[in-house]
């Protein structure tokens, strides 16, 4: 269709569906021009194939050439040999196929065959990218450009938020930038409401940049749609953030499940954890208050005895509980329940960013995130079930963003935390996770396999790469692309919401133009938007 405008790279010479397709580079194409991660189309006899270059190699037809020095020393001989006896080759992983008439009715389909010998391999052009990834629209959010291309790469956000997703990459690869971009996209399109547990105060009001001035947070871009909650009012004021609500947690809101999750960070024994359940059984919601009252006296000893709790165990538990109760935002009594407030905002379509202020230690983060999310989960479950029973509209899709996800979703605790449950089954209840982590190998395999779409920056640990790519077809092909990403401004996206994996450069965030583009809501020009108005 647009073969004139496309640059021909070479021809197919060998390959298999499993191992990928090998193509020989044309004489006029320098092997140095071709890069891993580039998207290509292959024009077969009856269909077109879309794929990604995942390896480049130098081939030689006769090993004798390598043993002779004449080719290296003589420019005339090396000119003759290049492209004939010595040539460049590339390995292409095919992902999608399209009938030769380019009928758009079916769209690109997953690949089940390979192109025939000598089919031309062309560099994908803008029309190809639009054909595969769609054009920018209300629901198709541009996340950047495919590597070495100017065309916009779009992500189908309603499809994206339907599953739990992950953003990975080692420290400094731009996870926070990517996440902020995704959150803006979700906000802009209205595909879901966000609840962000913002450990490092990066999303709400403003975010930091390495070696550059701070960037605007969500609230600055969408003041009417985003509300910032804080655990640390003083810190928020100091940073000049206008907050909508100060979160305080009452003793009675903390459940034994929350404590069991903190077992490791609070250094609790197994017995101490089971003691919390005994105490709750006895005192109900007031168990922490009562436990803190128990002193080193006879009366207390009797109570503990009746509950089968050993002195040393209780000592261990109490030390842990004291750590929690000493947190300034944990109070014996609170007037307004944070959970209710969060839910109220979310139900009204407001996006909530919870800033942790100075309380950046992992204990606080796990406690708060788990505690709030559990309640929200219960509410969403109930609402969805009611909606199904009444045949009414289900609650608004919710995306919960958590950082340092391996602390919640490691194999040891994934089965206990609410996040494990959400990742596995909450899709049915219209709530999904956006998991951000630098150590994906620390996340439970089962949870990883449930993540729909994964976006990953550079990872250099073999275990992390394996964990991220687990279960992907053509894993080794993606591995070579992933490990060759630049450490900044490049990422690989693959999974449920994209038709095929693609390496891309995230779009700009932080320039005045980018704020202008990102800050506008996308429902003013669209036909759907007009329909909504009527």
């Amino acid at each position: 269709m647009n073969s004139q405008a496309q640059k021909k790279l070479g021809i197919v010479i060998a390959g298999s569906l499993n191992q990928g397709i090998q193509a020989r580079l044309d004489n006029n194409v320098s092997v140095e021009e071709v890069t891993v991660g580039n998207l290509v189309t292959i024009q077969g006899k009856s269909r077109r194939f879309f794929g990604m270059i995942n390896d480049i190699s130098l081939e030689v037809t006769d090993a004798g050439i390598l043993q002779s020095s004449s080719a290296a020393e003589d420019s005339f001989i090396s000119e003759i040999l290049s492209g004939t006896a010595t040539y460049g080759a590339m390995q292409v992983a095919p992902y999608l196929t399209l009938g030769v008439d380019n009928s758009l009715t079916d769209g690109p389909q997953p690949v089940k065959s390979i192109p025939s010998h000598f089919s031309p391999v062309l560099l994908a052009n803008e029309a190809d990218i639009e054909l595969v990834f769609g054009r920018e629209s209300k629901e198709n959010f541009s996340i950047g450009n495919p590597l070495d291309m100017e065309v916009k790469l779009c992500l189908d956000l309603p499809e994206f938020v339907r599953r739990s997703n992950g953003v990975f990459g080692k420290s400094g690869t731009g996870k926070t930038f990517l996440t902020r971009l995704l959150l803006v996209g979700i906000l802009q399109s209205g595909a879901a409401v966000n609840l962000v547990f913002d450990m490092h105060n990066e999303y709400g009001w403003k975010g930091t940049r390495e070696k550059a001035s701070p960037v605007k947070g969500l609230k600055q871009l969408f003041p009417s749609l985003v509300s910032v909650f804080t655990l640390d009012e003083k810190n928020s004021i100091d940073r000049g953030v206008s907050t909508d609500f100060v979160v305080n947690i009452g003793y009675d809101e903390i459940k034994p499940e929350d404590i069991s999750l903190l077992r490791q960070t609070l250094n609790l024994t197994d017995q101490a954890v089971s003691a919390t359940y005994q105490l709750q059984k006895r005192y109900g919601n007031r168990w922490i208050e009562e436990a803190m009252k128990l002193e080193d006296n006879e009366e207390s000893a009797e109570i503990l005895n009746s509950l089968n709790i050993h002195d040393a165990t209780f000592g261990n538990l109490k030390r842990g509980l004291r750590n929690i109760c000493n947190l300034p935002f944990v109070k014996p009594q609170v007037k307004e329940r944070a959970v209710e407030k969060v839910l109220e905002y979310l139900e009204n379509g407001k996006h909530v960013v919870l800033e942790f202020g100075r309380f950046r230690d992992i204990t606080t983060y796990i406690l708060i995130a788990n505690l709030l999310t559990r309640r929200i989960y219960e509410r969403y479950q109930a609402k969805t079930e009611r909606a199904m029973a009444n045949d009414s509209a289900p609650p608004r899709p919710l995306v919960i963003t958590i950082e340092e996800a391996h602390k919640f979703l490691n194999p040891g605790v994934a089965s206990q935390t609410i996040f494990g449950t959400i990742a596995r089954e909450m899709r049915k209840y219209n709530a999904t996770l956006l998991v951000i982590d630098q150590r994906p190998s620390g996340i439970d395999e089962e949870v990883m396999s449930q993540l729909g779409t994964k976006i990953t920056g550079l990872l250099d640990s073999e275990r992390d790469i394996d964990a991220v790519l687990a279960g992907m077809s053509g894993k080794s092909a993606l591995k070579s692309v992933l490990s060759k990403l630049s450490s900044r401004q490049q990422a690989l996206i693959f999974g449920h919401a994209v038709p095929m994996p693609v390496a891309f450069r995230p779009r700009d965030y932080g320039t005045p133009e980018s704020y202008k583009e990102l800050g506008s809501l996308r429902n003013d020009v669209d036909d759907d938007g007009l329909e909504d108005l009527w």
Partner: protein
């Protein structure tokens, strides 16, 4: 055509794969690897010269040394005018294609040239046009001739390269064709490439 092309000699031995010709004048041989042509009705048969020789007319009669008292080789021939009648120059060729109705074919014609056909030197234009395809190199590679095939191929490419001009890239193009032909035999390929300059 006849007016443009220089006549070199006459066919004295012919087969489908090649022919031999005798020069009209002693020592006026075409160079090794030169493109020559003969006519066969409407067909032009093209061949590459694959070696020349000068012998006595009578096979049993060997030339004898005559220059003992001569001051130069030229004066030897001048003082022995019979030599021009007793000696003859011949050259062999390998047929590499033909031309019919203005189109060049780079494979063997159906018939050999006739004896006593006139042999002409091809013009630069004809060499350039014929050299657009290098398929004829396969015929040279299989030629049975007294000079080594590598020498013949290299000489032919050198000669055609001169007609094509130094900036035409003809040698490189021919080299690439040879690389295809000799894939798996780099030593021979290298030997030919080394003779292209």
């Amino acid at each position: 055509m006849e007016g443009v092309n220089e006549r070199l000699g006459e066919v004295i031995e012919a087969s489908t794969g090649g022919f031999s010709a005798q020069c009209y004048k002693l020592y006026e041989l075409p160079a090794l690897g030169e493109l020559v042509k003969c006519h066969y009705d409407e067909t032009e048969i093209l061949a590459v010269t694959c070696g020349g020789s000068t012998n006595s007319f009578e096979p049993g009669r060997r030339p004898i040394a005559r220059g003992h008292d001569e001051t130069s080789e030229d004066s030897l021939y001048q003082n022995n005018p019979q030599l021009n009648q007793l000696l003859r120059s011949e050259f062999g060729t390998v047929v590499v294609g033909f031309r019919q109705e203005g189109k060049y074919y780079h494979y063997l014609p159906s018939f050999p040239v006739r004896l006593h056909s006139f042999v002409y030197r091809c013009s630069d234009e004809e060499i350039i046009a014929f050299g657009e395809s290098l398929e004829f190199l396969i015929l040279l590679e299989g030629a049975q001739c007294e000079v080594p095939v590598e020498e013949l191929i290299a000489a032919c490419i050198r000669r055609m390269s001169v007609s094509n001009g130094p900036d035409s890239g003809f040698s490189v193009r021919a080299g690439k064709k040879l690389t295809e032909m000799y894939s798996g035999d780099y030593q021979r390929l290298r030997a030919i490439l080394a003779r292209l300059r």
